[in-house]
């Protein structure tokens, strides 16, 4: 669906990507994590064709994104972190935006706005930032675009809306859709993504499906100093030591993305070596 080969990109003198490779497949929700300024949004902008690679190739659905052809743009919906909706009513906006997306489904849109409890009779500018974001996410999902790029989608959402967001996104995924979520709100991705990607120093430092992470790594709380000595990563807490261990015995555990993220940044070679 999306193939990125040897991507090089720099803002004037500041290099962002130097030889990044990535393949995104349909039927998956990818979580993209990274420090501030590592290029998460820049990667999304390159995929969407807002920015052009200085070297390397990006291909999505057989299109070159930088050409920004209507057929390509109709297969993609990008929800940016910062956005501005026009000063018109929701109904007017949908009536004049949805027809550009061949797969748009009005009933689906109404379903999502109900799920998110968005007041539909208001002007868009009268809605709060969080409500506007939910409108945008509802449109994104109702377009049935095969590729959804969500940049910090949970920023501005209240606690209840965040859980609704996870529910709605999980329900919207099918075999033909690919959803890429860039965020630093690691906790918001738990139980949602099925692939974790960590971006660092212009490259994908870690990229594994959640199922393999759960198979390969063991996340546990312990007071045992011996176990702590074997840990790939450990954190102290009131409940004991939170550890990431190699999962030799294929024990069940729930991956803690925040810990894994820190562990990968500290010790990526050792952790990647566990994933042949």
């Amino acid at each position: 669906m999306v193939s990125i080969q040897n991507l090089h990109f720099a803002y004037r003198r500041r290099p962002v990507f130097s030889g990044l490779d990535l393949v995104l497949q349909p039927g998956h929700i990818y979580g993209l994590l990274g420090r501030n300024g590592t290029g998460k949004s820049t990667l999304l902008h390159n995929i969407a064709g807002y920015l052009f690679p200085q070297q390397g190739q990006i291909e999505a659905f057989g299109f070159t994104p930088r050409k920004r052809l209507p057929a390509f743009l109709g297969k993609l919906f990008h929800v940016p972190e910062d956005f501005q909706l026009p000063d018109i009513s929701l109904a007017q906006w949908i009536n004049h935006t949805a027809p550009f997306y061949p797969g748009f489904d009005q009933q689906q849109f109404e379903h999502y706005t109900r799920e998110f409890a968005i007041p539909t009779f208001n002007g868009l500018r009268e809605l709060s930032y969080g409500q506007q974001k939910k409108v945008l996410i509802s449109l994104a999902l109702a377009t049935n675009a095969p590729l959804l790029l969500l940049d910090e989608p949970t920023n501005g959402l209240d606690i209840h809306s965040k859980s609704q967001f996870r529910k709605v996104i999980a329900g919207a995924l099918d075999d033909e859709k690919c959803i890429l979520i860039s965020t630093h709100q690691v906790k918001d991705l738990e139980n949602l993504i099925d692939h974790l990607m960590i971006l660092e120093d212009g490259k994908i430092l870690f990229h594994q499906p959640m199922s393999r992470i759960a198979e390969t790594l063991l996340f546990k709380l312990t007071f045992d100093p011996e176990e702590e000595a074997q840990a790939l990563y450990s954190e102290s807490s009131l409940k004991g030591h939170a550890l990431i261990l190699s999962n030799h015995d294929r024990e069940d555990s729930r991956p803690d993305l925040e810990m894994l993220y820190k562990a990968v940044l500290l010790n990526s070679k050792t952790i990647n070596a566990l994933f042949p």
Binding site: P80, D87, P99, F100
Partner: protein, 285 residues
């Protein structure tokens, strides 16, 4: 499910959707702007009549029309792609599934066609009552030209299309109207080229270009001419012998002159639109 038009360069149905979307999202601002223009024109005419007398309305109509058209038209054009200057407005614009050509054509429809028509209508909505007011006043209180016994005749509404009654020698060529479309095309290009303060930067570049042109005329072209021969920045197609008598002039062959005038009148706006299109295609946010 809708079917996608196959043509990725231009589809009339997609372009119509784009025009409809642009109108719905901007109509409130456009209508308010036109009302503001009407108000400013009315204030200007009233001020001129009260301060300078009825006769000045002949010149005032000309300067109000073109002054307003150039300023408001260029400002409007430079705002059409203002969305591209901020990320949060540029991203929805760039990601909307329409071709860059359709987006440019939509901007041209609003700036070149609709704005010109709307501005001209608004101008006459203000101008015609003002001329009637002045003529009524002259009918009841006839006035003479200053320091003469000649009565000021009734005023006529200035025709912007034929330039009849314009206080300029270029009435036949009507260059002011043609060059407006060039200035507007430059403003449109500037709005794509510059991300911030596009209108101001475009005006500065335009002024610098005019200064460079005048300097080129004076320092390169004029010294190459024989003694007592001169050329004029605004009469670039003819050289004049400035010592009188006799007065001579040399002009380009009529065909060449006409071709150049036609090219400048009708060729420059599409030339700048073409560059704007390519800048749009390469625009990154």
């Amino acid at each position: 499910m809708r079917t996608t038009p196959a043509n990725q360069f231009f589809s009339f149905s997609r372009w119509s959707l784009l025009v409809g979307k642009h109108w719905v999202e901007h109509r409130r601002g456009y209508i308010l702007s036109l009302l503001a223009i009407a108000g400013l024109l009315a204030v200007f005419f009233t001020f001129i009549i009260l301060m300078q007398g009825y006769a000045t309305l002949v010149i005032a109509q000309f300067f109000a029309f073109f002054g307003g058209l150039y300023f408001a038209g260029c400002l409007f054009s430079s705002l059409l792609f203002a969305d591209l200057s901020t990320k949060k407005e540029a991203l929805p614009w760039l990601s909307l599934p329409a071709s860059q050509f359709e987006k440019l054509l939509c901007a041209l429809l609003f700036s070149v066609v609709f704005f010109f028509i709307a501005y001209t209508v608004v101008f006459y909505c203000v101008d015609i009552p003002m001329v009637h007011w002045a003529n009524n006043a002259l009918r009841h209180h006839p006035q003479n030209w200053p320091n003469t016994n000649q009565p000021i005749p009734f005023l006529s509404v200035y025709n912007v299309f034929t330039a009849v009654g314009a206080p300029i020698p270029e009435a036949n060529h009507h260059l002011f109207l043609y060059s407006y479309f060039t200035a507007q095309a430059v403003a449109l290009l500037g709005s794509v080229y510059y991300t911030r303060y596009a209108f101001i930067k475009t005006v500065i570049v335009g002024v610098l270009f005019l200064i460079a042109f005048v300097l080129f005329e004076n320092t390169v072209i004029t010294p190459m001419l024989p003694r007592n021969w001169n050329n004029d920045v605004f009469r670039w197609d003819q050289m004049k012998y400035i010592m009188e008598p006799p007065q001579n002039e040399v002009r380009l062959p009529a065909g060449v002159e006409q071709m150049l005038i036609t090219l400048i009148q009708f060729g420059l706006p599409p030339f700048f639109w073409f560059i704007t299109y390519h800048r749009l295609k390469e625009k990154q946010v």
